[in-house]
Amino acid sequence: MTASLWYALIGAGLVTLGLHSLTLTPHVLRKVIALNIMGNGVFLMLISLARRLPDATNPAPDPVPQAMVLTGVVVAISSTALALALLRRYYEASGRTHLPEDDALWGIEEEPPGRFAVMPDGEDDDDH
């Protein structure tokens, strides 16, 4: 087994861990983190599988997956930021940290309202 195969397997492990967490935790923040771990696993697999060099005459790895990962990293960062903003807004609006679809599955009856769900008037006059 070469080093690149080993790293690809670690990437597969990261994808699996992320998938497990994504499906089996109801908390939305954990889901976002799990998605990030899955994405990083995919990047690791792509990068390491691009290093399967046929011989010593081309020492450079395949550049196309590297460019794709470079693109993917930036997209992942921006989508994570958007997801975090979205879930903070969701928490503010509903006071919940999980999606309604998970209620029945997890037996969640009702969560207490979030910190910012009910704000007394006048305290935030200069907000939007």
């Binding site: 597969a12 994808v15 697999m45 060099l53 921006s78 930021a81 958007l82 975090l84 599955l105």
Partner: protein, 245 residues
């Protein structure tokens, strides 16, 4: 399971059949991935030959930069557009939000002095990465990430606060990456043959212009994404500074 119960009040464990079924399913998924990886041929050049054969046409010497900014320039253009969309989405999500923003950060003297030294180095490093990207690993994304990290450090230290940046400047910088890239692409359509098909003799210069605009744009995008709002919007800082003064 305990951790989930701790994190969510009123949450119980899911049905054991679902939990163990999912776990077994995920393990099977891992096994399939491992099998897929191990069954790949041990050596594969991928698209190395195709890229290296056309490298002289790309105008740059680094293969990754050539792929990013020339051969697959569409990808990169749309990716910079994704960054812009993320910033716009952030603004849209925050509309009507009543959540108070976190207190403005203030740094201790050690961090302040360190930043005084570090910030110019990071800007210099970003410029170096941008320039070296045409020949060695580096380029707009790496440089933009360093620039973004510098702005995040400055935000943490309280050196960049909401309202510090004029709105027109923030808007211009945020959109400059997409607009310069798409503008040069469209110019290629008129003066050369196709969209984003650079004339070979100008390729290097055009790529550098695009990368420079993208670097600043990516840095600014990361700054705004970290802040979670437009830094030109002073309303939170004003109310806070009003209390201090």
């Amino acid at each position: 399971m305990k951790t989930n119960e701790d994190m969510i009040q009123g949450a119980r464990a899911p049905h054991p059949i679902f939990y163990w079924g999912m776990t077994v399913g995920v393990i099977l998924f891992f096994a399939a991935l491992v099998w897929a990886i191990l069954s790949l041929p041990p050596a594969a050049p991928g698209l190395f030959r195709q890229v290296s054969d056309r490298m002289p046409e790309s105008g740059v010497e680094s293969m990754v930069t050539g792929v990013l900014l020339n051969f697959r320039a569409y990808d990169t253009l749309l990716e910079i557009a994704v960054l812009l969309v993320a910033v716009l989405g952030l603004g849209a999500i925050r509309l009507g939000s009543r959540e108070p923003l976190p207190e403005a950060f203030t740094a201790g003297p050690v961090l302040m002095e360190f930043l005084r030294f570090l910030t110019p180095v990071m800007v210099l490093l970003a410029g170096y990465l941008l320039w070296v990207g045409s020949k060695y690993p580096g380029g707009a994304f790496q440089a933009g990430a360093v620039l973004g990290a510098a702005t995040i450090l400055l935000q943490i230290a309280g050196n960049i606060r909401a309202g510090d940046i004029p709105l027109w400047l923030e808007k211009t910088v945020l959109i400059s990456g997409v607009f310069v890239f798409a503008g040069i692409g469209a110019a290629c359509m008129f003066f050369n043959d196709r969209f984003l098909h650079y004339p070979q003799e100008y390729a290097k210069g055009l790529i550098l212009i695009i990368e420079a605009a993208a670097t600043v744009s990516i840095g600014a995008t990361l700054m705004v994404l970290f802040a979670g709002r437009s830094l030109a919007d002073p309303h939170d800082a004003e109310s806070e500074e009003g209390e201090h003064r």
